[in-house]
């Protein structure tokens, strides 16, 4: 289902700190056509935020860009289980920051990643979701949506990991809807910040993975 249509207005305004015009598409890639919207779209955004890809547009985002060493972290995924970024060394990691469990847009976003786990694994990539929700909330959410990826709880100190990646929305107390592709050596190779109400889909991740595949041998972490 199309979550962006389904989100109740209230939950959106809760997540949304500003009243920028509604927008459904991916800001960083949106060329000049940001006006046609409407009706049941009611997406909102807070202005250009280019993530760190090289597509051009204004880069107001503070998200860590490609070439940066990915800050390590250790977070709970269940009450008695922790996951560290360094556990994935030797694999690629798609780090999916999202504002909150249960928000319909997130639901769809993670559902999309959930569906393509086999294809992502062909690129040696694992998906990890991160939000400020607590572990019990994550457990219920993952179970309800049959998610097969770890959901990490950036809960105490709240949003610390999101902050270290430059994607914390202090005013709202949640993270941005942001994607980071981290390579086998722990270097960020691609990042993207979506308007918070917009499910970014997975095409950008796949494109970035293929790009990595194609330049595998040369220049690891070169852009730093």
């Amino acid at each position: 289902m199309r979550s962006d249509d389904a989100t109740p207005q209230t939950s959106s305004s809760k997540e949304q700190g500003t009243n920028a015009p509604p927008e459904r598409t991916k800001t960083a890639t949106q060329g000049g056509s940001s006006t046609q919207l409407t009706g049941n779209q009611r997406m909102e955004r807070r202005g250009p935020q280019g993530g760190a890809n090289t597509e051009g547009e204004t880069q107001e985002s503070t998200a860590l860009p490609a070439g940066t060493k990915a800050p390590d972290f250790t977070l709970h995924t269940t009450p008695d289980q922790e996951v560290s970024l360094s556990d994935f060394r030797g694999k690629r990691v798609v780090l999916v920051f999202y504002p909150a469990d249960w928000s319909p847009v997130c639901g769809d976003e993670l559902a999309v990643y959930n569906e393509v786990l086999p294809e992502l694994r062909k690129h040696n990539a694992e998906v990890v979701g991160i939000s400020v929700d607590g572990v019990w909330c994550h457990i219920a959410y993952a179970k309800y949506n049959k998610l097969h990826m770890p959901l990490l709880s950036d809960f105490e100190p709240k949003g610390e990991v999101a902050r270290s990646y430059g994607v914390y929305r202090k005013k709202d107390g949640v993270s941005e809807r942001a994607l980071f592709l981290i390579d086998e050596q722990g270097t960020i190779r691609w990042s993207y910040v979506s308007p918070i109400g917009v499910n970014p889909g997975a095409d950008g991740v796949f494109d970035a993975l293929e790009e990595l595949d194609s330049q595998k041998a040369p220049q690891k972490g070169a852009a730093a």
């Binding site: 289902m1 199309r2 979550s3 962006d4 249509d5 389904a6 459904r24 598409t25 991916k26 960083a28 890639t29 060329g31 056509s33 046609q36 919207l37 409407t38 009706g39 049941n40 779209q41 890809n53 090289t54 597509e55 490609a66 639901g107 769809d108 976003e109 559902a111 999309v112 959930n114 569906e115 393509v116 294809e119 949506n145 049959k146 998610l147 190779r189 691609w190 499910n199 970014p200 889909g201 997975a202 095409d203 950008g204 796949f206 494109d207 970035a208 790009e211």
Partner: protein, 183 residues
């Protein structure tokens, strides 16, 4: 790092697709849909109305985008449409599924196959063996690579439709495309 714009259709509508309408129609409307998705169900009569209104000017194509982990019956329904398609009745099954969204379990699917006069034994066997799962997956992945992030997602001549999918908005977008071509 990336050059391609996100949200661009990576696979043109071609011979492998299920299409309605003339191959030389000026506009092709492509839907990525899920038979269990209520929004797709709502879009279904709108697409029909557009087809009636635009006649030969519109070609319609449908690709599967079942979010199977949240829609329990979506995958089976998509495969049922393909199984019916293998017997020449894709669109009849397509309509039946959208018109009967609350009942998409296996028994119901077999019932629909019977109503449509299909070879029910073949249909049921193919469903059980998931013969058309790879085909459905192919559609799904082409959607993923085209930035489809939910359903329904429409493309008009390969360009993603960003507006809502009510009749007027869709018609306007399609007509704008037709004028663009005529100009």
């Amino acid at each position: 790092m990336r050059v391609r714009r996100q949200g661009t259709l990576v696979k043109d509508v071609g011979p492998g697709d299920h299409v309605q309408g003339r191959a030389d129609a000026p506009v092709t409307l492509l839907e990525y849909g899920d038979y269990q998705c209520p929004y797709c169900g709502a879009a279904h009569p709108i697409v029909k109305a557009l087809q009636r209104y635009l006649g030969d000017n519109l070609r319609f194509a449908f690709r599967h985008f079942p979010l199977a982990t949240i829609h329990e019956y979506a995958e089976g329904a998509a495969e049922a449409a393909e199984a019916a398609g293998a017997q020449g009745k894709f669109w009849q099954m397509h309509d039946t599924l959208f018109e009967n969204q609350p009942a998409l379990d296996f028994e119901s699917l077999v019932g629909y196959a019977e109503e449509l006069g299909l070879d029910v034994e073949r249909f049921a066997t193919e469903l059980e063996n998931q013969v058309y799962a790879p085909r459905v997956r192919e559609d799904f992945i082409s959607g993923i690579r085209s930035g489809v992030n939910g359903t329904p997602t429409f493309f008009i001549n390969g360009v993603r439709h960003e507006g809502s999918f009510d009749f007027e908005t869709m018609l306007e977008a399609i007509q704008a495309r037709m004028q663009g071509i005529a100009a």
